[in-house]
């Protein structure tokens, strides 16, 4: 599931997982576990903590924006010139957890987190969509 809205570039992946939010939270927040499914890292579940996700091809620069234990985790994701925010949401269900990941580009209310990087991607993608609509 993905969409290119006029507001931002946004990717949403959702899945029902037959495990408790507490267990998933551990996998999302403990560095040795994050490495198992994502990348090598120096993550800490502390708001403001800057960390890298590292692979042999390079690194993703990140900063923790929000931590709500067993519920929500949000961090910036900067790679290849595109600033984005990754937000994990864990919702308990009768059989486990509804796990949702959203990666979205700049939003005006998040610009405080990006000093000196007021990229205007939002405007750009809005314009891009208009341009593409006209060229059909």
């Amino acid at each position: 599931m993905n969409e290119m809205s006029t507001e931002m570039l946004s990717i949403v992946v959702e899945r029902e997982v037959p495990f408790s939010p507490e267990k998933i939270w551990r996998a999302l927040t403990q560095p040795h576990l994050i490495e198992e499914w994502l990348m090598k890292n120096d993550f800490k579940p502390v708001v403001g903590h800057g960390f890298n996700l590292r692979a042999d091809w390079g690194a993703v620069d990140c900063q923790v924006l929000a931590v709500e234990w067993n519920k929500t985790l949000s961090y910036t994701w900067a790679a290849y010139g595109l600033e984005s925010v990754v937000t994990w949401t864990l919702t308990p269900t009768p059989t486990g957890t509804h796990l949702r990941m959203e990666q979205s580009g700049f939003r005006p209310d998040q610009q405080q987190y990006y000093e000196g990087a007021k990229g205007g991607w939002q405007r750009f993608f809005a314009n891009l969509e208009q341009v593409l609509a006209r060229t059909d």
Partner: protein, 115 residues
């Protein structure tokens, strides 16, 4: 596992994102999209930066395949190449694929983990 990002984020994306990350350069490109072919002089008149700076930005855009130049007498005309934006539009579907596979690995890990 790590190879996957190489596939979804090849150099082409890097060049494209970098080319459009600069606000002045993006404004020049947007103007070419909006108003069609323009000379360097016409672009400079509205860019708010010097002509050499505009030329430099156009050079970067040209390298990314985002603009094409056409010489006519002493003037160089630039036009936007919208086809070059295709990888950017593909980005969402490719990143969605990346996250789907990360979810797969995450689920595998959860099965292996102790309660």
């Amino acid at each position: 596992m790590t190879n996957r990002l190489l596939i979804v984020m090849p150099d082409l994306h890097d060049i494209l994102f970098r080319s459009l990350a600069d606000p002045t350069r993006r404004a020049i490109f947007e103007r070419l999209c909006r108003e069609g072919e323009q000379t360097v002089g016409a672009l400079t008149a509205q860019a708010g930066v010097s002509q050499p700076a505009v030329s430099k930005h156009l050079g970067v855009l040209k390298q990314a395949g985002l603009v094409r130049d056409r010489h006519e007498g002493r003037q160089t005309h630039y036009s936007a190449q919208l086809g070059a934006l295709a990888p950017l539009i593909d980005w969402t579907s490719q990143m969605a694929g990346f996250w789907q596979s990360r979810f797969d690995d995450l689920e595998d890990l959860l099965k292996r983990m102790d309660q």
